[in-house]
Structure formats: structure tokens, C-alpha cells
Symmetry: C2
Subunit: 429 residues, 2 copies
């Protein structure tokens, strides 16, 4: 074994960073044996140096992250700051100064992954980011290495623990969105400002990363259709139950049937209770991958948290250090397929639509005609009348989102349709 | 991209090999883009050259596997023959002649993995074998790379599709073992001679491989305790149901509580219906991994079959080819921890024991005394009497297998115990 240690600079020492530092210290011998050389924590860049950081020698702490990555003797920079800047500049500088990078930064990778990969390649360095998607669950590595000889057609997953916790609570207790959110906040599963989670921004960033790797195509955050889950109601869960379904916020990356384009989207959807994703509880994550040869695979585990995320970071750290000792680099960006990313209108799926309609003869015929005119085939209709008002629940066969939108627009203009109570996609069948 | 192709020799062209050849041909452009150089099928060694092999040029077919691996221009040998010989000699020769090896051979790796890794290392070559365990499910790579910075404490899984199909059928239809086996045979899920599957040999080989990688310790097939599932009865399933459990043939690798040793075993066990492994149906496989930092992860997918296994082989082929272009090798054997592998007596778990006893006063007291004398604490007892005979079902708290064996031996010598109807371990709690 080489005795000269590989030097690691840690940028950020919050929930994840402190766990990375702790494990690097307590498991130093194991890491050395697995890498083939010791790894040394050479510096830790933080914003608040006064905070006590157990187990990290005070002389390693610095507020000057730029100076740390510019030291010139750093082998690997571990970036767990998050956000776009200063992370982007620091990572770029790290490559320029000869280091490889391990990052957990989903927002940055979804926005600027291609540019960062290019800088890494220019400097013969590695950019690894298993921790950016679904915490501890090995997903990036299986997609870009284990399935490298296969053709992935679909990725369907729960990649945000906060929203899964809220939806699971709504499902099991009958609570409304706000009540379930309050519980999640009280228990520490939701942040004080939950926007990034509940509006699907976090899941959309992960979806862009997954789609890019799965389809060997650049998919940016802007390419991902995004719909949050703040408008999911207890009534939607009741409707889902009647269909033998539950509701999950899903990340879906799909290759079109003709293989010539791909789509990426995040939105709440009904899935059958028999689908393995339906039983993913609490803050857990799970991702289904469908490919030509392997068939259906599922990966399940904790999608967030200090320790699980640190596990993913350290797995990457070991790989990057081994590559460095080998004088090699691991797989970089693979975007050779360069498939066009279609918009939501081209997505084909099923829909569950609740309409408030006048309770009089001929309404169903009118509604059915609108669906037919837009080429959307109806699977089932259920009508419930009460005091001159009625609700009509329509479940469609597979249709394009564009056709469905046209249908809904036309329905709204019917005198007999008082309102469209909810529209939800049905997935996983 | 390099234009000179990497040359691949395929040993074996059965269900898996023919799929590997097919995908190498139909997806040649994708593989080239992902590897950075084209890959060329340079030869295919078979036993029966007369069989028509669609899509494989006749001039590539040979019956002389030894000559093929000795050609000297082969970059990667893909071994999908199975069994110990001639596979072992061919793989060793491949290394000696400068090739890296991708293998799906669980029996060989469980028996001679350490020796083969040593030869690979001597020749700076790779030995990859994702396909040897759980078919298409990425498991070897996540364990040896994604979790390389973590400490794995437990691997608990269903790694044999045939037995899971049989047990699932017994559970859902109430059929007995033989009837379910006959169905599995008729549907092609069980081989004409099902011994390797139903007696747990296949699962034991996979368990040895998983334990070795998980614990960075050499674990050979002989170190794995093995009990088949041919004696599981419909009555056992009825007992399991009463406990809110089902029965699975489980592969279990565990680090002892003190961390100083490990155990590896395969046997049927009851697991709670709430456990994710309980809902793994048909011939699917799934493996739970518990580690210090990541927590609980699960990997799920098809555990066998030509296409899924080919997917795993090709993922390895891409990785090995990339390493070759890089002039590097991937992670080799990691056995530095060298923990002792304890026997079954040291395993600590819970037990479900059915006794046929005389239906008279004092029997329960006698039985309970025997458990107490052997230090096995009882969780629940259920007694059902009928015509002077009674059955007594005892579920214990956690105890060592040695203590439990002592208890059962003592119970058999009691006059009032007519017989021990079944003993089954209870896992996954």
C-alpha cells in the first residue's frame, strides 16, 4: 500500500459534511485498505468557523474555500455546500488546480452538469455525484455502469422523501395537505420553507440528472416538466382508493415508443396499490428502472439524511481515489445519443378526471362527445348525483397530454360542466 | 474514439451467451460510444458447433475454447459456461494470455474466487462477475463500489428465483412442495433435476460471494450453512400465516454483534408480511443490505434468465473494456478484514417450533423448563388440544442456534413430547 496519503478538501460541514468527516476519521483504516492508500482530511471550508465541530482539528477549519481548493496539493474536493454559487466556481477551480470532485449538489448538476463534466475532462479529473440523487441509494453508478450494456427505456421513482412522507401521511390518516405538511415540519422531515420539495423543484433536478444518464442525452432542469403536490386533496386520495390506487409524487423519464425522443417530468400521479412503489412509506425513496435486457429493477432506501448521504459521498470518494492511484478516470459524461427532449404535450399516459356537472339527461353524452372529438378514449365513467348536481369521474385509456389538455379546455366551455375538480395522471400500469 | 476494436471471446453460447452475442451485434454502436472503442466478437467457443446460432457468423464458432483464449489478441474473455471445469482452467489461461475476464459463474467464484483474483492481479487484469449473483440486479458493484466507504452489517436476500417461485406458489395456493415444484417445472422455472436450487446449493454459492464482498473477508462455499426448502410444508405456511408471516428461502450474511466475526447461511425462514422481502413474488430476486451509514437498502429485479443475465454481463464488459483503454484495472479482491467465519451454532435469531405433545396437565411446564434450562427465552406459546394429543407452538426470543439445538434435543427426550413437527427460524424483524 502507498503510504503517502491522498488529500481531501471538504467544502461544507453541515449535516452531510460533518458525517463525511466523522466517518473519514473513525474508518480511516478501512478506507485506506479499500483505496490502497490512506486518505487525509486536509482542510474543511465552513461559513461559521466559531461553531464547535467535534472530532475535526481546529487548524483544518477555514472560511476561505477558494484558497483551500487552490492549495495545489488537494487530490479530491468533496463539495457538500449545495446551491449554484459559490459551489460552481469552487468545483471549476478545483479541476483547474488538479483535483477530482465528489459532489452531492443536485441543483448545480441539473443546471450545469454538462459544463462541469467538460472542465473535468479537460483536466483529466473525475466528477462523481452519487449522493445528488436519492441519498444513499446506489443509482447513478448502476445506471451509468451496471446498465452500460443495456438500453434503459423508463425510470419511474420516488426521489423526494419530504413529499413522500406528506403523501403517505395523507393516505394513511385521511389528513389534508396542510395538516400533513405541518406534521412533516414538526418531525423535521420538511424544512421551514418547504417550497423546493413540495413544488417539485428538488425532484425535478434529480429527474434531469437521471434522465441524462439513463438516455445518454443532455437533459437540463428546464427540460423537466414540473408540477408540485400542494394541490393534492383528501378527495383525490379517496378517488385513488376507489381505483385501487394511491398517490405519489413521481419522477418519470421515458423514451418515446419510437425511441426517437425522450421526456422527463415530475408530478403527482395515481399508481396501483399492487405496484412496488405504492408501498414505499415515509421519507424513503425508491426508483424503478425498466430496460430492454434487464427488465424491471428497483432500488430502495433512505433518500436523504446526513449518514445516508455521507455513505454515497464516501463510496464516490473511494472510487475517485482509486482512479487517481491508477492514473485513470472513471466514466465521464455520456451524451452521445443526443436525443431530443420532448415537452409534456407528447407524453402519453392515462388520466383520472373529476368533473362537477349538472345532474340532467344528456350530460354524459355531451362529455363523452368532447373526449371522442379529441381522440381520448374513455376506459371507465362513474356518475354520482345529488340535489341537481352530479360528479362525473372519467378514467381514460392512454392519450397524449396535448389531447387531454384540449379535451379539458373544451369540457370547461360546456354549460353543463360546472367545474373540473381534479385531473390526475395514472402511472405504473 | 479509438477505431481499433477490442476483441471479445465468448465461452459458451447457451441462453445467456447467445443473448450476449445478440446484444453485442445489435447494440454495437451504443457499446462503442459508451466504451470509447468498438468491441468485436472475435470467437465463440461451443460444445455443439452444428446447432444453428442466429446472427453469429459461422467462422466465429469453434469447439476449441483453449485455442481461443490462447490466441493472444483477445482483450476480454466472457465465460458463461458455468461449472468448475473447464471454466477454471480457461479463465486462468485467459489471464495468462493477457485478457481480462467477465464471468457469470457463481459456483466457480464461490469455490475458487480468491485464487482466480490472485491470478488476475498477477497479470494486471480484471475479473468481474456481476451476473454471478441475482442476474440483472446490480449488487456486486453497489456492494464493492457504492458502499466502499460504509460498513455493511447484514445482507438478507432472496437470491434464487426457482425456490421463490415454488414458495410463492405454496403461499398463494396452499399447495404442497411437490405440487408447486411440478408447476415450476412445467412452466420452465425449475430444471429437470432441481437439486441445485431446492437444496440451496445455488443460493449458498451466491451467499459466499456476497458475504466475501460485504465483509472484505474470504468466505468460501464450505463456510456457508445450507438447508434446502424441500421439507417446507403447507402446515408451515399455515403456521406462518398465523404469525403474520410468510416463508422464503433466505440468504443471510451477518456481522456478529461484537463485529469480530461473520456468519453466512441459507435456509427457509419465516419473515413478517410487512417486510419488503415478503412481497417478492414469482421468480424475482431481492436483496436487503443494512449498513452503518446508508441504513437499509433494497435491490430488486429478475434474478435469472438469458436477457437479464446478459445485461449484467454486458455492463461488466463495458467496465472492463473502459479499464483496458485506461490502462487500469477496477477493484480486485478485497479480503483485508479477514474476519473469522463462525459456524451456525453462533448464529443468533428467533425460532418457531411446533411440537406434538400429550394433552395432559404439566406438559407446558415441562417444555418451558427445558427452554429455560438452555437459556432460550420464550416469546409466545400456543396450545391446541384434540383427542388426547395436542400441538404446542413455541416462538422464542433471540437465541443462539447452539442453544436452540440443545433445547430441541432435550425436548425430543421428554416422554410427553411425541415429536418435533417443525423448526423454523424467524428473520427480518
Amino acid at each position: 500500500m502507498r503510504t503517502r496519503p491522498l488529500k481531501v478538501a471538504l467544502l461544507g460541514c453541515g449535516v452531510v459534511g460533518s458525517e463525511v468527516a466523522r466517518i473519514m476519521t473513525t474508518h480511516a483504516d478501512d478506507l485506506a485498505a479499500r483505496i490502497g492508500a490512506p486518505v487525509e482530511l486536509a482542510g474543511v471550508a465552513v461559513r461559521r468557523p466559531s461553531r464547535v465541530r467535534e472530532g475535526i482539528p481546529a487548524e483544518l477549519i477555514t472560511t476561505d474555500a477558494t484558497a483551500l481548493v487552490k492549495r495545489g496539493d488537494i487530490d479530491v474536493v468533496v463539495e457538500v455546500i449545495g446551491g449554484i454559487e459559490p459551489a460552481r466556481t469552487l468545483i471549476t477551480t478545483a479541476f483547474e488546480y488538479g483535483a477530482s470532485v465528489v459532489s452531492a449538489n443536485k441543483a448545480l448538476l441539473a443546471q450545469d452538469g454538462a459544463a462541469l463534466h467538460a472542465v473535468a475532462e479537460d483536466h483529466d479529473a473525475d466528477l462523481y455525484y452519487e449522493a445528488a440523487v436519492a441519498g444513499a441509494i446506489p443509482l447513478i453508478r448502476p445506471l451509468r455502469e451496471s446498465l452500460a450494456g443495456d438500453k434503459v427505456n423508463r425510470v419511474l421513482g420516488i426521489v423526494n422523501g419530504t413529499t413522500n412522507f406528506i403523501l403517505d401521511a395523507m393516505d394513511s390518516t385521511g389528513a389534508g395537505y396542510q395538516e400533513a405538511l405541518d406534521e412533516a415540519t414538526a418531525l423535521g422531515y420538511a424544512e421551514a420553507d418547504p417550497t423546493a420539495d413540495v413544488e417539485g423543484f428538488d425532484a425535478a433536478a434529480k429527474t434531469a440528472i437521471l434522465a441524462g444518464i439513463a438516455f445518454h442525452t443532455r437533459v437540463r432542469l428546464d427540460d423537466v416538466y414540473r408540477e408540485g403536490m400542494t394541490e393534492v386533496t383528501a378527495a383525490d386520495f379517496a378517488s385513488a382508493k376507489q381505483m385501487g390506487c394511491t398517490i405519489k409524487l413521481l419522477a418519470i423519464c421515458e423514451r418515446a415508443a419510437d425511441g426517437a425522443s425522450v421526456t422527463a417530468r415530475v408530478h403527482p400521479a395515481m399508481i396501483p396499490l399492487s405496484h412496488p412503489l405504492a408501498s414505499v412509506r415515509g421519507a424513503y425513496n425508491a426508483v424503478f428502472v425498466e430496460s430492454d435486457a434487464a427488465g424491471q429493477l428497483m432500488f430502495y432506501g433512505p433518500g436523504a439524511g446526513g449518514s445516508p448521504t455521507a455513505s454515497a459521498v464516501l463510496g464516490d470518494l473511494v472510487a475517485v481515489c482509486r482512479n487517481r492511484l491508477n492514473g485513470a478516470t472513471g466514466p465521464g459524461e455520456s451524451a452521445y445519443a443526443a436525443l431530443p427532449v420532448s415537452g409534456m404535450g407528447d407524453v402519453v399516459t392515462r388520466y383520472h378526471i373529476s368533473l362537477d356537472v349538472a345532474d340532467k339527461p344528456g350530460v354524459l353524452a355531451q362529455v363523452a362527445t368532447v373526449f371522442a372529438e379529441h381522440g381520448v378514449s374513455i376506459d371507465t365513467v362513474r356518475q354520482q348525483g345529488k340535489d341537481g348536481e352530479a360528479s362525473l369521474v372519467v378514467v381514460t385509456h392512454r392519450a397524449s397530454d396535448a389531447s387531454l389538455s384540449g379535451t379539458v379546455e373544451a369540457l370547461r366551455s360546456l354549460d353543463t360542466v360546472r367545474g373540473v375538480a381534479s385531473i390526475m395522471r395514472v402511472e405504473g400500469e
